[in-house]
Subunit: 317 residues, 2 copies
């Protein structure tokens, strides 16, 4: 399998990206993994010679431009045609690589995923999720976390399916419990969207729906896959992330999301598109990049996107 | 001013309620405050004799029924006509008391507030808010936190007004900064509701609108009054509250909401109704009850509800 990496994306690229690649190969002796590195050759090459990367495992695909973290995604992708992200998606669309990842401009990665490669047939809207570390050490998944601010019930139902397949295949959660994020436990609670979504999830036979979960259940063991519209998910995610930056006075700190997610789990996949696209956190270091490669390998090995497609097809019948 | 207290509401009532009353009078020697105590005389009287409550400051209004914490609000209010909450609202509606408070069944308090006394003229929907302790020691206000799951832009605009008036008059925040809870900073971001609400808040001359605030800004100093629909507010509040019950493993704890809010600030007022109704947290102890009385006094003294009415009238012109 050929996995593409944007070497210029992230606050500590390309050094930490190279270290992550070295780490991955030092821990995983796989004959079937080959990496394509997109980025400025002058910036990357010196690091490549400093770290111990096995012969013949990488191909450098030199690019001359970089999309900055704060550039306008669509504009940047359009204008910077020789940027590492634009070229990466070109390779992905052409089938030269099987998966693509970056810790760079999130918006550009999303736009690339939505428009360079096709959505899975039957998927109304692709989605992005976030790993939520659970109180008991488990691994939860929250989706959508921001690309679909206004949702229809049918979309939430598909997020539930896509999240379940990802949770089971990539996060290793057996028969994941799916919860609908809501303001009360009983069916009939909530806003119009959640009232209309509940029956769809309840009738959905390809997921293990356990009912509503509330704000207080986000970090509890109640549900493994937590479904909501992207507006709600984004507020939850940013609130939880912000708790790392409250270092003073009586308020104690929970330092989980930015650190543990990116280190332990790599990045967030775009679900509902035909090929694996993984978006890393800007603060990604060595371990995060290594985990992202591992995540891409597992996504390809388990054919998780094929399984998403099949599950969507089954519920669409 | 005559302030009514439900003596049967809350996990530690009536003992802690009586202690709170004693504490209030020991710290506030006001001639103009008289309390009406609603509840079971046999349960209350022994405590009243044990604690030092000044002569002539209280009137016991005996009731025979109690609405439990988990009873269905509408049903309970309808059937338990001699409950402390039902009688309290009866006194409030009749003008025998000027404000009413309880740490009991929240739903029953809301139903009572909505249907026993009138909404302020021009108010589309009353709202409830929650105090949010800020990182810098300040006092934020989040609203709506649960009674209006689906909102119209005009409602959010009124929440902004009501929240501002409360923040300024009761929380002592000068010219409070009002933020709209959203998924990005720029105007035009967010779901349809927030996109449509932004221009209304921007044009609103009786508030100090500072733009969008994100999930990460909830505990920061960015905005004093944070406005959203009740669905989003409820998720935020319950998520924040849940952080007190994550006591193990690597995740550290923030123990702010349930403890500091109820101790320091008393309860949450229902805004947009003609008379002060204050809802305390079920875990309220002595200090919380004392603070709730103080809150009611300040609401009456500052005529905050009259000011809400005037601000709503001004923007409705």
């Amino acid at each position: 399998m050929n996995i593409g990496i944007d070497m210029m994306g992230g606050d500590y690229a390309p050094l930490e990206t190279v270290k992550g690649i070295a780490k991955y190969f030092s821990e995983n002796l796989r004959d079937d993994v080959h990496l394509f590195l997109f980025g400025n050759a002058d910036a990357i090459s010196p690091h490549l010679t400093s770290y111990n990367i096995p012969e013949g495992k990488i191909t450098l695909a030199p690019t001359t431009q970089v999309i900055g973290m704060h550039e306008h995604p669509t504009k940047a992708l359009k204008e910077k045609t020789d940027s590492s992200i634009a070229i990466g998606f070109k390779y992905l669309a052409a089938g030269k690589i099987d998966a693509f990842m970056s810790a760079g401009n999130t918006g550009a990665m999303l736009v690339g995923a939505m428009f360079s490669i096709r959505p899975v047939e039957g998927v109304l809207r692709p989605t992005i999720s976030s790993i939520i570390p659970k109180q008991n050490g488990g691994t939860g998944l929250l989706l959508d976390v921001g690309i679909n601010s206004d949702c229809k019930p049918e979309q939430l139902n598909q997020f539930a399916i896509m999240g379940s397949v990802f949770s089971e295949n990539i996060l290793g959660v057996e028969n994941p419990k799916v919860g609908l994020i809501n303001v009360g436990e009983e069916e009939g609670k909530g806003n119009l969207l959640m009232q209309a979504s509940y029956p769809l999830l309840k009738e959905n036979k390809v997921i293990n729906f356990i009912g509503n979960v509330e704000g207080r259940d986000i970090f509890s063991n109640k549900a493994d896959v937590m479904v909501c519209d992207g507006f709600t998910g984004n507020i939850i995610l940013k609130l939880a992330e912000s708790l790392t930056i409250l270092p003073k006075n009586k308020i104690l700190i929970m330092n989980i999301l930015t650190v543990s997610i990116s280190s332990l789990y790599g990045g967030t996949p775009v679900l509902g598109v035909e090929k694996p696209v993984i978006i890393g956190h800007g603060i990604s270091h060595e371990t995060a990049f290594s985990s992202m490669i591992d995540e891409a390998v597992r996504m390809l090995q388990t054919d998780v996107l094929g399984k998403v497609k099949e599950a969507i097809r089954l519920t669409g019948e």
